[in-house]
Symmetry: C2
Subunit: 480 residues, 2 copies
């Protein structure tokens, strides 16, 4: 990717978006007029306005960083998005495609012909190409691979061979390597000959003749040390490095923990094969936490906010279907006690309170646990302690809030025993919520699944069915 | 902060944590024995084992990066945490205090006397001191401020004067500044005299005699350009810069968008006063997305997973109380229709399905919208379009899933009209969920509140009360 200078941001991104939307709207008005009026003179004037508008929009876009254009594309509905996309200079297509979200990228790629795609992809580095390849038409990928030299082709193949959650899928190949038996002066002269250094170069990689990583030379040290010193005297011998089949998210956590900017990736024999950089790791950290939020709400993936209704349905239906089944089960639990409800209809009005508070409390517990698990703070060694704490919180909450609602139930229906049943049911359901709130994510993790996955739907299912059963069961035993 | 070299991570962090827990457990066994057996000989042996254990634990801790020690402290229950904390070398106390989460930091500070706190804080830079100051005892802060030179004191004061969500609270003061009218050769010699460069130095700041920022000199350019060139020829004139009273999260987004590593902070007159670095921004990005998750679940703040039951209650009670009120309202809605339920008890069994699916679907919508708002993709210009899309999704979902559940209701209770009411109620409640799912976060944002705040509790309240009202109302009108 070529380096684009970022201009001082006098106006906020939102302002720029607003300006683009404004220009697009003016554009549409002009187009509508052109369609309506058929007078020849009128048409010519409109075409002029039309063109002026587009020129202004294009100038605006040219001033923006690719990442900002990407942001604007994401915030626009599909037809406006494609209007803007056609105005973007062809040589920036590649950069922008790499910046937008997956779902938006799909809409952009669908709008490009093979020729444009080839042109955009030709500007890319091997790792960027590998990111994009799975979404490109097969013959475009084929043609691109043909055009690469053998080293580049090998790199694309290798990057494609890793899962997207492996280090290998995120590494790039823009490394500056040096030997350990030269002086810093030689290194400085070598760098000057390179004309440009890759982005995020905070260290040079020291390798031997076989390409095995011997250490790293932080640029900071290169700058402050005597140029006559040898690289081997100044380099760090035992740097943090990663393996291509390692977990990418763990690498991101290491970047965060040790404040890294770039880090070497080595194979089993210690041979340097690539590097990771903080920008990819930041994206990953962002994505992971987004996935957590989405999964907890039962969404399968990030959704382009202007996705079609049909696409949105596909994203959401699976957890809704699960929820439908769990709601049906809860309904059948109530069905078991229809006789009791017929005798005491107050039960029907009170039962959702027991279920609802249980659901809320369970969601709090499960959110806490999922978060602690994401930070690796939960181990088998402390499960029982956590469980005890959560049950303790649930017990106190149940007695306090259950007590309050018990008194309210008494006041509404003038039955002490109904109040007591209410309090007892609330307490038991909160205990169930705490128990399941710890157990569900732990079990999912043990099964190798994402502990956040639909956890909210599942805990709510438990506290609904459980709450109805506990409350109606106690009522049937003690009130009727 | 002094630079600590990160050792190659042969063993994972979890492994290290497990080892520490193991050592602590052995330790406890020894202590128990010592307490139980009073024989003098026995005691001496135990003391030896005791000391060996502690020595081994200490050696383990000394090997670890401060960030790793922080992680281990966070993952340990309070008493073990303090045992480990006492073994950590005093000169690392400061670094570690800066790494741990707020709630864990409180427990550690509570365990230190003023003398230890002073020693730990003396190692810190002005910006770090400002981070910690609000949590230190007042007289410790006073003594620390006395010990600083006037420039440092001014910096701490200035950092403390900003809100924690402002750029000024996150900037540091470790900048390397140069003049524009010198050659790169002079700059290189100047750097060599500094002996050490601050972390995350990817650019030098070019200022004039009044300290006004003229541009930045990326280290990359310093290295590849001819040393005889002037700084002014090579520097970037118009770099991204921030104001101390700007929004910190927007700065973090800019870092993410433009792949920045460090960036100057200037006051209104363009005078350089500090810099932002990617490590602080990554922490902020992480915190923001965590806050989003916690707020959606109705938790006030991050919770130390080993917090006391009492502390957890304080964190959770407020939204539970809100939920109690909304559940009570839902219950009263049902109360309105007790007569209908008495006549047709099937309604009691079916009504939670309508409410539950509505809640799930509403949570999906609100999660989507809150996310899009966090990414600035939602503006007043596209609200109506979003609303139409969400209502469309709700309508289709309602007809499909409502239809399914309508058929099920018919099969259970052999009443076509009940099935139709069920389908209609589901569809209407999903439409309500979509409407509220867009409206609630938009309204919160317009009121200047966090759109994620308790949004889950609120949408569930709407879909519960609304669902009961719609279903029981339709049933009363058409079935009875």
């Amino acid at each position: 990717m070529t380096e684009i200078e970022v201009k001082k941001t006098q106006e906020s991104l939102q302002d720029r978006l607003a300006q683009v939307i404004d220009l697009l709207q003016r554009q549409r008005v002009v187009e509508d007029l052109t369609h309506r009026q058929d007078g020849q003179h009128q048409e010519r004037v409109d075409n002029l306005v039309h063109r002026q508008n587009l020129v202004e929009l294009q100038r605006k876009l040219d001033d923006l960083h690719s990442a900002d254009v990407a942001y604007i594309l994401e915030a626009l509905p599909v037809e406006d998005r494609l209007t803007v996309w056609q105005l973007v200079k062809a040589e920036r297509d590649g950069d922008i495609l790499l910046e937008v979200s997956d779902s938006v990228r799909e809409t952009l790629i669908a709008d490009m012909d093979d020729h444009e795609l080839l042109a955009a992809a030709k500007e890319m580095d091997a790792d960027e190409l590998a990111d994009l390849a799975p979404e490109l038409p097969r013959d475009v990928v084929h043609e691109l691979m043909e055009a690469l030299d053998s080293q580049q082709r090998e790199r694309v193949r290798s990057a494609l061979s890793y899962d997207e959650d492996q280090v290998g899928a995120l590494m790039d190949f823009e490394m500056v390597t040096i030997r350990e038996d030269v002086s810093l002066e030689v290194v400085l002269r070598y760098l000057r000959r390179l004309k440009e250094l890759p982005g995020h170069t905070d260290k040079l990689f020291v390798v031997d003749h076989d390409g095995v990583l011997k250490g790293v030379l932080p640029i900071k040290r290169l700058l402050v040390n005597d140029p006559d010193k040898q690289v081997s005297e100044v380099m760090a011998n035992d740097p943090v490095s990663f393996h291509p089949d390692g977990d990418a998210y763990e690498a991101a956590q290491a970047f965060e923990r040790y404040d890294l900017i770039s880090s070497p990736v080595v194979d089993k024999n210690g041979k340097l094969i690539g590097r990771l950089t903080i920008d990819e790791m930041v994206d990953l950290i962002r994505e992971e936490s987004e996935t957590e939020v989405l999964n907890m709400a039962g969404l399968r993936e990030e959704e382009d906010i202007f996705a079609s209704v049909w696409r949105s349905l596909r994203n959401r239906w699976s957890w809704l279907a699960v929820n439908l089944i769990t709601a049906f089960i809860a309904s059948r639990v109530i069905g078991l006690f229809e006789g009791s409800i017929e005798k005491l209809v107050a039960l029907a009005a009170l039962m959702p309170i027991v279920a609802g508070i249980g659901g809320n409390s369970g969601n709090q517990t499960i959110t806490m646990i999922v978060r602690a698990m994401a930070l690796d703070q939960v181990s088998t060694g402390n499960t029982s302690r956590l469980m005890r704490k959560e049950l303790g919180v649930a017990l106190v909450n149940g007695l306090i809030w259950g007590g309050v609602i018990g008194v309210v139930a008494y006041m509404l229906y003038h039955s002490w025993s109904l109040g007591v049943v209410m309090t007892a049911a609330m307490t038991l359901n909160l205990l169930l919520a705490a128990f399941m709130g710890v157990l569900i994510p732990m079990t999912l993790a043990r099964l190798g699944r994402d502990p956040a996955m639909g956890s909210s739907v599942m805990i709510t299912a438990m506290t609904d069915s459980g709450g109805f059963f506990i409350f109606l069961g106690l009522a049937t035993l003690f009130l009727l």
